[in-house]
Amino acid sequence: MPAVSKGDGMRGLAVFISDIRNCKSKEAEIKRINKELANIRSKFKGDKALDGYSKKKYVCKLLFIFLLGHDIDFGHMEAVNLLSSNKYTEKQIGYLFISVLVNSNSDLIRLINNGIKNDLASRNPTFMNLALHCIANVGSREMAEAFASEIPRVLVARDTMDSVKQSAALCLLRLNRTSPDLVPMGEWTARVVHLLNDQHLGVVTAATSLITTLAQKNPDDFKTSVSLAVARLSRIVTSASIDLQDYTYYFVAAPWLSVKLLRLLQCYPPPEDAALRSRLTECLETILNKAQEPPKSKKVQHSNAKNAVLFEAIALIIHHDSEPTLLVRACNQLGQFLQHRETNLRYLALESMCTLASSEFSHEAVKTHMETVINALKTERDVSVRQRAVDLLYAMCDRSNAKQIVAEMLSYLETADYSIREEIVLKVAILAEKYAVDYTWYVDTILNLIRIAGDYVSEEVWYRVIQIVINRDDVQGYAAKTVFEALQAPACHENLVKVGGYILGEFGNLIAGDSRSSPLVQFNLLHSKFHLCSVPTRALLLSAYIKFINLFPEVKATIQDVLRSDSQLRNADVELQQRAVEYLRLSCIASTDILATVLEEMPPFPERESSILAKLKKKKGPGKLPDMDDSRRSVNGSTDSTHSFTDVLNLNSAPSSGANLLIDVFSESSAPPAATDVSEENFPRFVCKNNGVIYENQLLQIGLKSEYRQNLGRMYVFYGNKTSTQFLSFSSSVSSSDLNVHSKAVDPVIEGGAQMQQILNIECVSDFSDAPVLNIQFRYGGALQNIAVKLPVMLNKFFQPTEMMSQDFFQRWKQLGAPQQEVQKIFKAKHPMDTEVAKAKVKRHKSLCRDSVSQRLCELLSEQF
């Protein structure tokens, strides 16, 4: 029985909706919609002015049609009219329409903003709320410009009604998210903090959300909220359930507010004040205790609400990472959940424990649950839960359990979902390399990876195994033998052929003594796979063949025959043909010595950060939803562009805890940053120029552009990422003993291949001799980089010419008679000076001089030569 609308029930609308539902086909629906659109269009254009009710009805119909998925390109004017109406229901529909069908026509925007302004000023709380809801729903930059400074006032005004305060707080929160630069900090911030003490819990809830967001931008401004939040949380957690009345949810006291307060506290480190810290600890213990009490209700809502608070409390404990007892208790609680009946709780426990695993206080406690987690991997029906189990195993892996965990992950890989295979492969490769004591185990693991999930073994993985084998003498023989055996399998993955081809090419000689793996056998084995392989693999195999010719003269003729064959020499692919031709020729004309030199064993690779980790972070880390309006950063990396969805979701600005976890797993292997030398090799070049490259290494290029006026200077520093991987946690600071240098904060992330700009404002207050130093830190591929560069700010930059009459000049010159005022330095020129050239230069300079004094000086100079 279709429910008739409550209140004024627009019957025409209900009839229309019924009609649509009764349409038997998509075509019928479209036909009915078009008929209605034509009707509405004519009504809107008609001579008769429509009454408010009809307008409302038609606008509502348009909205319905739009929400069905059809495009609507008219009705905005009528909607704007509605929202300026004095009748609440008309206003409501008007606002709803323009919040859903956002229009960027500037005239319309002006009219809308006008309507909102009037409603905000109306002192009617219901109207004010409508206006605030609209701003919060649309949150456009134009609205932010119009209202961002007004709303804080509404929020903290004493006579504002509670419901309006709530709307204002969240409205401001939305504006701060989309246009943070337009929300001014001011004395209202202190009053917002005070709202945490409000009697009305709804106001407190909204204020907490607002403060949490603002505190991320300006943590110092909201520091005082910590003690208020702890006090409030404490009162809630210890209250009897009847105390909070409306805010008790299924016998849980104010769960939403508790969660929000706990989240606010995660914006700050543990409180320094001992009394406050202990009060908070008590609070957290109470929450943990409650989890052990028998439930007050069987309803799932009760346990969800209770556990929501519990999980958030655990998140705070993990964030603080300072109370070992709490951490261990949290771990035990999660351990209990690991075996809970409810899938949701098992999922959440696995997820939460991942973060616990990286804390030094709880790492061991987490490891005790390894068997349970392995069991989850094997038995859980939901793939999301299995994935969490994989993540947890990866996080808890260390030297003591690496072998077991890798084995479990490999066996899981055999049946894993295709969508997650690549990630598991990367993780196994990373673990195997990190915890290998015996590198034969590492080689076995990688070859297993290729066997089980060859398609998902990316280049980085098999490059790495080759690098390692090349660098480690002790495993080369084993690698050759294992690869040889693996290749015997009737159907082996192409990646195995690549690895095998390379390794046998380099180290086949180590197993050539055994008749079962004699040179000819090896060659035949490789060549049997040749025709099954793609072009890049064949190219690799050809290189292996020429290496064989060098290693094993006895098979030279056989291989040459192969190279000589038409299918090689006349191969359609240029690379293959070239290799075949050149290798053949090389094998014919080169003497054994030359051949041996050309095809000498590969030298060890330089030790470098594993690219596998970078690849994993790219996969796991903040990705982007496709087809989003990508506000592309300009070349100089300025982020003034209006915030699109990608910016809102731009987790790039703060590394997600997932990415941090991976960095932490490796942190013990990266050496603490050594004291860096200050680079000043390019420094002298900047004495006479203001622009250029001041520093460059393999990863980073730093360029400068500066301008000076009187005692002020401005320097544009350009950081260029020369690699294809992101720089994370990028920070730069300037240290100077004598100058005042102000720098604007920089983005912590520089994308691969991108450039970022930083502006430094320099003020010279007195003479100085030491140049300021630019200190840069960032993470590349997991390793922390530290660079210090001397900035070419010299005293002469602040010199300004001044005009004076020659008599004044000589008067002053004569005054500089005291011994310490005269300095003469004789130095050898680095490069020979051609006297004639120098003379000409000076003479040319003289002709440029306008006054007699300079001309006389030039004459004197030129006579010296």
């Binding site: 029985m1 209140g7 949150g139 709530q166 949701n344 496709p626």
Partner: protein, 153 residues
């Protein structure tokens, strides 16, 4: 710490018909349609015993089925999943109280009311009023402001 709030809420039937869409982030219509299409497919493919959360792109999706309607919320990966489940439940409670034993048809024929109720409860993706009584009071007050209609058409 990244933003923690709802990114969007979708209500859809078991046949995949969208009954309500509330977006808390700016997106183009094309993007919204794409997300809706893909997410609806993904959620409808879930089996009953699976957990209520799933990772989708970089987001976490929290969903629950009430009778013939799926309620689907997208939150940040690190956001609190259980409290989001209860946001869904609270919204259902509000609808239920307002319509008196709510069913899908109520939401179809009174879609604008569903949006109004949602706005009183959530704003900018965050819970603004978590007392059921207060939310219902606000909605009732608004209803009282409705004038009597004078020309049925």
């Amino acid at each position: 710490m990244p933003f923690l709030c709802l990114f969007f809420m979708l209500l859809f039937s078991r046949q995949g018909k969208l009954r309500l869409q509330k977006w808390y982030v700016p997106l183009s219509d094309k993007e919204k349609k794409k997300i809706t299409r893909e997410l609806v497919q993904t959620v409808l493919a879930r089996k009953p015993k699976m957990c209520s959360f799933l990772e989708w792109r970089d987001l976490k999706i929290v969903y629950k089925r009430y009778a013939s309607l799926y309620f689907c919320c997208a939150i940040e990966d690190q956001d609190n999943e259980l409290i989001t489940l209860e946001i869904i439940h609270r919204y259902v409670e509000l609808l239920d109280k307002y319509f008196g034993s709510v069913c899908e048809l109520d939401i179809i024929f009174n879609f604008e009311k569903a949006y109004f109720i949602l706005d009183e409860f959530l704003l900018g993706g965050e819970a603004q009023e978590t007392s059921k009584k207060n939310v219902l009071k606000a909605i009732e007050q608004a209803d009282l402001l409705q004038e009597v209609r004078y020309s049925p058409r």
